[in-house]
Every structure is written in structure tokens, then in C-alpha cells.
Symmetry: C2
Subunit: 381 residues, 2 copies
């Protein structure tokens, strides 16, 4: 096990009607003037928008708002949010939505109190200061509700990049599994896939002697494998959604990823897919992650043998990957990048856009170069 | 799953030489005048005391100290600590040791800033205010390094009672697995047993639909089952100790216990054993917990069936309990309360001292009355 540090100070309010505590929590964490930041019209249709704004008004919390966050949130809306926060002297950002609304909120929170261009953080600068961020989560997927990360796409370059900083970790996150019941099955399945791949990115590691985090990862994977088909069969299955929602947080606050080298090649490859094609992040991962497995497991089978036996309870790695693919198919996920409109001829552009060369530097478990990545994209055709 | 809230803000510095960061961490969390609080002479023999005091001096941290914390820490030393902290205007308490030194430090931290008798907290008053506490952990066992709990024994009454409060959760905990290498095998095994029972107290629950926390609990149990024999065979096995140490924290910061009714009868019964007899807490649990299982599994087998299959990979509950007992024996744990000097004739006094009546109110998974508890103590003879 490698040396590490770990801190996950987010306060989680979990369960039915948890969103009614939003004003109380904002006050607890020092907010008085709030930016309410959310996505598409779904929270208005579901009535959540009305409940949250009523709770804010009842709690005496003054707020301004910007909606319209899209999947794969973009820099232009972040700039708009920063300008509004500065003008209105906002001191707290409340995200209502999934990973996109939360990531966009984190970017606004950091950018508002930063003198330069917020995109600096997405070019690699560590975020040192931000307004506090709170969340009301509506999709179990990104894990952004408990993480210190944010991913934003720069519209001009189509670059989808991540930024990090302890100060953008939400001070509180409200997790009411019932809020995810209105999600379409495709988005629900994509969410579970994203959670599973967050675990895989940590699990597939060359760091030896990490039994405790291996076992935690395996337990989360088994949870997703058993619970996701339940919510696909019955979107109103609160209990299955509750288990998935807590798994989604634990999968990405890094409790299960400490002390080990991690991979993250699948996320890197998927980011290009959803930047250039019409792929929801989790659905893109459902195609890329098994393809990545087929390629790297031949070069470094070690950890895959344990994964096959413990998670899928089969004897061979190929059987396990086949079971994983069958599982993804059974919950309605795509199996080819062509389903997003990508063609074989797009592959060199996708691989190049990651910024790869002939030197094998991409990913942790097996270091990949540009031709390896092209090969993985081809396996995902 | 029940509604819950969860927050675990402790900053963990984990790995080799982590204790060298102590001065930096104390400053980060606002400490300038420190009470160094520790146990017996073992940290002086091992050289840890010298390393920590040198690090404090090098870091310009002023400190006073009280050693002598015993297993099952007592109120009289807490009163002494409170008086010293007030006199010396201490603003930070640093525990160096295991659960006893940490629990005693938490009591001192709360008592120093409280107008009344600190024992009020151990009579049930929630702790609202305390000096910040940091820890350097030397035993993987109690989980106190990441928990909001403290257990102290009142010498006059032999009452061993717990107190809780968010403010006594350590602001930082330094976990260097190498520091546990000097522990005798018996204490190492007792530590692992304590961790396993922290998981069992949460796992055995009547709350349905808690698959995610069940799976996390099972993963931790499997980790302890595989790693503990390694450190018994080789006390210097850093890697196995590292896995156990992180499992000990995760087992007790309540990440795996959220959203469910918990039990805690075994801990309650063991507290009496170590208050009246010469039992180390974990060793006492090694006797009480299997006896509790034999009694309650007959009345409510439900969760035991899953535990047998998933953790011990056997078909029946009796086989699983037998495997658990054999495991505890294999790591050197006792199997009868007589090994601590308790006799059958002591049982009524032990059961009575818990404060039980004919009404079945004790524990969560099966509600026990005084005669049930006597029967469990008899099963532990």
C-alpha cells in the first residue's frame, strides 16, 4: 500500500424528503445569498424546483438562479454564472441536479473568487479558494456530490478537462433516492455504469497489498450488479435506488481508491467521445470500459483474475468481461461507439485529441500510447 | 434503508513516517499549546515518544504532557488532564496511543471547556463543544481515530460508559501501520477482534434493503479474516498491518453503519467484563460476541444466513459461528470468561450492572432482557 492522505468532510443528508432541510443546511454552512444552479426542465416538471425554491424562501434565503446546464457542462455557462455571482454578491452556490449541475457549480464557485480565467484550473492549476458549494442530487452517477473534482468542456476547443481542489468539495449534499425515480431508464443505467467505472478506475492497479480497498470495491460492484436491474425493472424501487445512491458516493469520494495507483484511461477516452459525439458519459463508458478491458487484460491479466473470481464468480477473465458486457446490455447500455455516430475513420482524431504520442504514458494499469488507444477505440466499434 | 446523515471530516495522514507531520498538522488545525496524552511506557520503549516530542519541538509547538492512560481509561486521569489543560491554557489535545489514549483525550478535550462535571457527557449529555483533538494511532482496534465516541470508566462505580459529539471527532489522525509492529500478538489479535465486532454490531440489523452497507461490511470482515493471521505469524508484516489499520477506521466511522438499526449488545456486555475483570476489550469481545451469536441466531436467524454464506462461505449458521470461533482461537483469543477470572456466580452481578430488567430492551437485532443476557454470559463460560 502506498502512503496517502484522505479527508471527506462533506455532510450528507440522506433519505426521503431530505431536500426540505436545504435552507437550514445553507445557513449552517454560512450561506446567505445563493446561486441556485440547475439543468434542464426536468426539475421543474418533477416539482423539485418548486419545493426547493419554496424551502429557500421559507428559510429566508435570498437567491438568484441560472438553469440550463447540459450534460457535459460547458465553459460559457460557467462564465455567465461567475458574472452573476460577482454582480449579486453571491456567497454560496447550490447545485440541483446531477454531476453536470454540480461540476458547473464547482467551476462557478472557484471562478467567482479567482482573479484570472477559471479555465486555468482546467489546465492543471490546483483550486485553492472557492465559494462553498452545496448539492441536491438527482442522479446517482458522477459521485461529484462527495468529490473534489469537476469536469467542464471548453466549447471553442471541445476540450473536456478536469479540475480539483479540496475547497470545491461540497460542504453538504442532500441525497434523496426518491428524486432519482423520475429518471428515464437509459439515464439510470448510464449512472450505474459511471459508478461501476469509477470503481474499476481505482480497482485495476499495479499497487500490491491493497486487500481492504479491493474488498470495498468488490462489495460496491456487487451492489450495483444486484441493484441496477431492479430499478430498470421498476423505476420507483426506492430501496434499490437508495443502495445505488450511497454506492455512487462511496465509489468516488476516494475511500476505496486510497493508497494505490489508479488508472483513468477509460474516463479519458470517454471524454473525447462525449465531447465530439452525442454520448451521455455513462453510456460512453459502457462502450469504452469493456473495450479497454479486452485490450489491457491481455497485457496485464493479474488483477483481472481476481476481479473475475470475486465479482463475477467465473474462472476466466474472458468470461468475466463477457458477463460484464452482457450485464451492460441487459440494463440497456450501448455496445458500440457507432451508436453515438462515431465511425472508424474518426478514431485517429479522437486518440490525437487526448494529446497522446508514441510514448506510452496514458492510464495507470497498462501505460498506453496513441496506437494502443486507437486499438481500444476499434475494439469499441 | 432508513434516513440518515453522515459526516466524517477527520483528515487522515496514512503511511510510513506519517507521524513526522504532527507539528504541521497541529498548526493547520489551529493548535499552539498542546496536551500530549499517552498511555504506558510502550511509546517510550519504541522510540515513538522521542520522535513525536522532537517533531513538536522542531515545529515550534509548546506542549505539556500526561502519560499513564491504562486500557479501559478512567475518570480520575481525565479530571487531572482537564485541570492541567485549564491551568496551562492548552488549546489542542494530542493523543498518542490506542483507543484508550484517544478516548481519554476526547474526554479531556470536552471537559476542559465545560462548566460542569465532564461525567455528565457519559450519563447521556451530547457533547457540544471541545478542544480540537488529533491522534497518532498505535493500535488498529477501537476506531476512535475517526469516530465521535469516547468510552470512560468511572472508578468509584466501575461504570464504563460512552459519550458522543461531533466536536470530539479527531480533526486529524496519523495512521502509520509500522507503529503497530511492536504490539504483542495478543493485543494485535484483540484489536482485529474489536474491529470485527464493530462491523458485526452494525451488520446484524433488522433493517431491510441495506445491500450496499452489507457488502461493505462483508468486505471488511473478509479483509480481517485474511490479514490478521499474517500479522500473528509475522508482527513486522507492514502490508497486512496497513490493510487492518484502514479497515479499523472504515469499520467505525459509521460509513458502513448508516441507514440501519444497529445492535451493540456485545459491546455493552463486554464493558462489564472489562470493568470488573482483567479483560482487554477485544479479548472480552472474542468471548462475548460468539456467545451472543449462539443465543440470538436461534431467535432471529435471518441475517446470520447471509453472513454464513457470504463471509464464511458455509451453508449453515452453526458452521459459520464455529468457523468464527475457530478463527478467534487460531489468532490466540480466549474462548471463556473464566479466562479473565469470572465465575458463573458473577453472572447475575454482571447482567444487573448493565442496568437491565425483565423488559427486553437491550440490543437492536434481538431485544434482550436480564435473563437473556445472563444466558449469553453462561454461553460464554
Amino acid at each position: 500500500m502506498q502512503n496517502f492522505n484522505f479527508c471527506s468532510p462533506t455532510y450528507f443528508e440522506f433519505g426521503k424528503d431530505a431536500e426540505l432541510k436545504v435552507a437550514e443546511l445553507i445557513k449552517k454552512f454560512g450561506g446567505s445569498k445563493v446561486l441556485l444552479h440547475y439543468g434542464t426542465s426536468s426539475i421543474k416538471k418533477s416539482g423539485l424546483y418548486d419545493r426547493v425554491t419554496a424551502a429557500l424562501k421559507d428559510g429566508g434565503i435570498d437567491f438568484v438562479e441560472i438553469g440550463g446546464v447540459q450534460p457535459n457542462p460547458i465553459d460559457t455557462l460557467v462564465y455567465e454564472g461567475i458574472e452573476l455571482c460577482r454582480r449579486e454578491k453571491v456567497d454560496f452556490v447550490l447545485a440541483v441536479g446531477g454531476g453536470s449541475a454540480i461540476d458547473s457549480s464547482k467551476a462557478i464557485a472557484a471562478g467567482t473568487v479567482y482573479d484570472g480565467d477559471f479555465w486555468d484550473f482546467y489546465e492543471g492549476k490546483w483550486i485553492e479558494k472557492a465559494l462553498p458549494v452545496g448539492t441536491i442530487l438527482t442522479i446517482a452517477a458522477a459521485g461529484s456530490e462527495g468529490s473534489l473534482n469537476s469536469v467542464i468542456t471548453q466549447t471553442s476547443s471541445k476540450c473536456k478537462r478536469g479540475a480539483s481542489g479540496e475547497c470545491i468539495r461540497p460542504v453538504f449534499s442532500i441525497l434523496n433516492p426518491a428524486l432519482t425515480q423520475t429518471l428515464p431508464p437509459y439515464h439510470t443505467a448510464a449512472g450505474s455504469t459511471d459508478i461501476m467505472v469509477h470503481i474499476h478506475e481505482r480497482y485495476f492497479s499495479n499497487t500490491e497489498e491493497v486487500e481492504v480497498t479491493d474488498r470495498l470495491c468488490e462489495g460496491l460492484l456487487k451492489t450495483l450488479i444486484s441493484q441496477t436491474p431492479r430499478v430498470i425493472a421498476d423505476p420507483n424501487d426506492y430501496e434499490a435506488r437508495a443502495n445505488i445512491m450511497w454506492a455512487g458516493m462511496v465509489a468516488h469520494n476516494n475511500l476505496c481508491g486510497v493508497g494505490r495507483e489508479q488508472d483513468w484511461a477509460s474516463h479519458g477516452m470517454e471524454h473525447e467521445l462525449s465531447a465530439f459525439f452525442d454520448a451521455i458519459h455513462g453510456a460512453g463508458l459502457a462502450v469504452i470500459n469493456p473495450a479497454w478491458m479486452k485490450f489491457v487484460s491481455k497485457k496485464n491479466p493479474h488483477k483481472f483474475v481476481q476481479w473475475a473470481q470475486r465479482v463475477w464468480e467465473v474462472a476466466t477473465v474472458d468470461e468475466a468481461i463477457a458477463k460484464y458486457e452482457a450485464f451492460l446490455k441487459s440494463i440497456g447500455m450501448p455496445s458500440s461507439i457507432t451508436e453515438f455516430g462515431a465511425k472508424e475513420s474518426d478514431i485517429p482524431m479522437l486518440a490525437k485529441h487526448i494529446g497522446l504520442t508514441d510514448e506510452a504514458t496514458f492510464g495507470g494499469y497498462v501505460k498506453l500510447n496513441v496506437s494502443d488507444v486507437e486499438e481500444i477505440y476499434r475494439l469499441a466499434l
